[in-house]
């Protein structure tokens, strides 16, 4: 054993400061997760891509190259309507979440002193608890026996409970904002909290008022977090099918629900794969752009 120790010592003196990694070495450290990512992320996405060029007939896969799924995806008017609705909703939810979320993030990051952990918890509880349960909980507000109906009955505005609040795009919109908002607040908060107080003081010492300091100092420095929040929100709406399924009815059908249907009742996997790949490409592009601006380091 003595020569092993001697060898170790020799290696250590040869390259000081470069051996802080545990003994596993580069392959042992990088290998496991790299292999995992190649097998369970890169390969599945590639196979999804291949599937999207096959077709399905009488519930049988036909392993022949065809572009018909993409032609159907982009040519079919139903798909275009649903995709258009999903994109509009994604923009709308993102805009709403930004308008509501930014002031909240600002308040927690820069106004709250003693209760910071409490407010932080208030944001991350709805963020990490079940999305399914939170979306569903909007039925308690909007449903025929929900709180909104009860309130309107009590106020005398309605004579009997109305079912109109559920099963439409607006219900989906409300539930999405309610469920996704924390994903907007947290990254903005992280960005805002990192801004040194001295920068803000310097700005006001130089005579800038609040709005000028906000526009020239605070907002630009919070951009990575804001961009991250917007990306998360947009992508979450893009991939939603739970809110669409539980609250959307027929007028609130989103692309996620259509894709889900292809793998369920409609049983057209290749078409579903093509639609998934379109969603993937769109989300990937957004994430890559956000990543270039350092947004993925937040949150």
């Amino acid at each position: 054993m003595a020569h092993v120790a001697a060898e170790k010592r020799a290696r250590r003196t040869a390259a000081p400061g470069t051996r802080s990694a545990p003994r596993l070495g580069p392959i042992g450290l990088l290998g496991p997760s790299l292999v995992w990512l190649l097998v369970f992320v890169v390969a599945p996405i590639s196979i999804l891509f291949i599937y999207s060029f096959w077709s399905s007939q009488n519930y049988q896969l036909i392993h022949e190259f065809t572009l018909k799924n993409y032609i159907e995806t982009f040519g079919d008017s139903v798909f275009r309507i649903v995709m258009g609705r999903t994109l509009r909703l994604a923009f709308l939810v993102t805009a709403t979440a930004l308008v509501l979320g930014y002031p909240v993030a600002y308040f927690i990051a820069r106004k709250v002193t003693r209760w910071k952990t409490f407010f932080y918890l208030l944001v991350i509880i709805p963020m990490w608890s079940s999305y399914l349960v939170r979306v569903y909980s909007w039925k308690a507000v909007l449903g025929e026996r929900g709180a909104l109906n009860l309130l309107l009955l009590w106020l005398g505005i309605l004579q009997e409970p109305s079912p109109i609040f559920l099963y439409n795009t607006f219900a989906v919109y409300l539930a999405l904002v309610g469920s996704i908002l924390p994903f907007m607040i947290l990254p903005i908060y992280t960005s805002l909290e990192k801004i040194p107080q001295s920068l803000i003081e310097a700005s006001s010492d130089l005579g800038a008022g609040f709005w000028r300091t906000f526009a020239r100092v605070i907002f630009p420095l919070s951009l990575p977090g804001t961009l991250a929040g917007c990306t998360f929100t947009f992508v979450l709406v893009l991939g939603d099918f739970i809110a669409s399924q539980l609250l959307g009815g027929t007028s609130g059908i989103l692309i996620g629900k259509v894709i889900y249907g292809q793998f369920g009742l409609a049983f057209n996997w290749p078409l579903g794969a093509a639609m998934s790949f379109v969603v993937f490409a769109l989300a990937f592009a957004l994430i890559a752009i956000a990543g270039r601006y350092g947004a993925l380091k937040e949150g």
Binding site: K8, P16, G17, R19, S20, A21, P22, R23, L24, P26, L29, L30, G31, S33, W36, L37, F40, V41, V42, P44, I45, I47, L48, L100, G101, P103, V104, F107, K111, Y120, L121, L122, I124, I125, P126, W128, S129, S130, V133, Y136, S137, K139, V141, R145, A147, G178, L181, F232, V235, G239, I242, G256, F263, S276, V279, F280, A283, I287, A288, L296
Partner: protein
């Protein structure tokens, strides 16, 4: 210390009401004795909770959920822990690409990850089971492990480890006696957060599960059948379980920040 109230305070209060009122209503509804969910409540009852705990299928699903959660934590920590070390203690080409691929499944729509895994498993002739669910959860959670442990590694001064080497400790000894104690809390935080995510994960699970059930799968099936006090009870329980876990994780995350 009294200061002028911030003008954004009313908005902040409204936003938090908006975030929490639906869940609070669900919890209230779950104690309603009547079969139909209606306000004002007929009378307070634990009936629906008793039904849940008597339901063997739900207990079985709960057990499966915990098993998948524990498995996901173990696999994610091994893969993510080594990955975090590679990222912050090694120099290699394509580091930013590696980081991007690690983060990607966490940010991608889960429906895409779920469907990609489904087509992959079918292609490989792999039977869907709790193991395939576990794989899906690890794919999603790997980023959490790498980020949480990596964040801690990055903030650690290298001098501790270097001092250990200078004093003649080998790499294993340094890892177990110096590095590990310093990142232990980060590992624990990552484990809790991953368990919480896995416990509530629905979308990837829908596409990767076989004939067995996890709790979110049962809830999903029950929800699609209707809005009943029993669904409200199981939704409330899940929410409270997550809430407890998140409060523990969140407090730790704040302390470490």
């Amino acid at each position: 210390m009294r200061r002028a109230l911030s003008p954004v305070l009313p908005l902040v209060v409204l936003v938090f009401l908006f975030l929490y009122i639906p869940m609070i209503l669900i919890v209230i509804f779950s104690f309603n004795s009547s079969q139909v969910t209606i306000l004002p409540l007929e009378s307070f009852s634990l009936r629906w909770y008793e039904e849940l705990f008597a339901d063997r299928e739900i207990i079985e699903a709960f057990r499966n959920t915990v098993l998948v959660g524990i498995g996901t934590v173990i696999v994610s920590l091994i893969l993510g822990g080594t990955g975090a070390f590679a990222l912050h203690r090694l120099q290699f080409r394509g580091k930013s690409a590696y980081e991007f691929v690690v983060t990607m499944p966490f940010v991608l729509p889960e429906i895409v990850t779920g469907i990609a895994l489904l087509t992959f498993f079918v292609w490989m002739g792999q039977q869907l089971s709790l193991v395939t669910v576990l794989v899906g959860h690890v794919v999603f959670c790997l980023a959490v492990a790498v980020r949480t442990i990596g964040g801690r590694l990055q903030s650690l001064p290298r001098s501790y480890e270097e001092a250990s080497y200078d004093l003649g400790a080998g790499r294993l000894r340094t890892f177990f006696l110096v590095t590990l104690p310093m990142i232990r809390t980060a590992i624990f935080t990552a484990a809790l957060l991953i368990f919480t995510i896995s416990f509530d994960e629905t979308v990837i699970t829908i596409f990767t599960i076989g004939h067995q059930n996890t709790l979110p799968m049962m809830i999903w099936a029950m929800m699609r059948r209707g809005f009943t006090p029993k669904v409200n009870a199981i939704a409330s329980l899940t929410f409270v379980a997550s809430l407890i876990l998140i409060v523990i994780v969140g407090t730790r995350l704040r302390e470490q920040a």
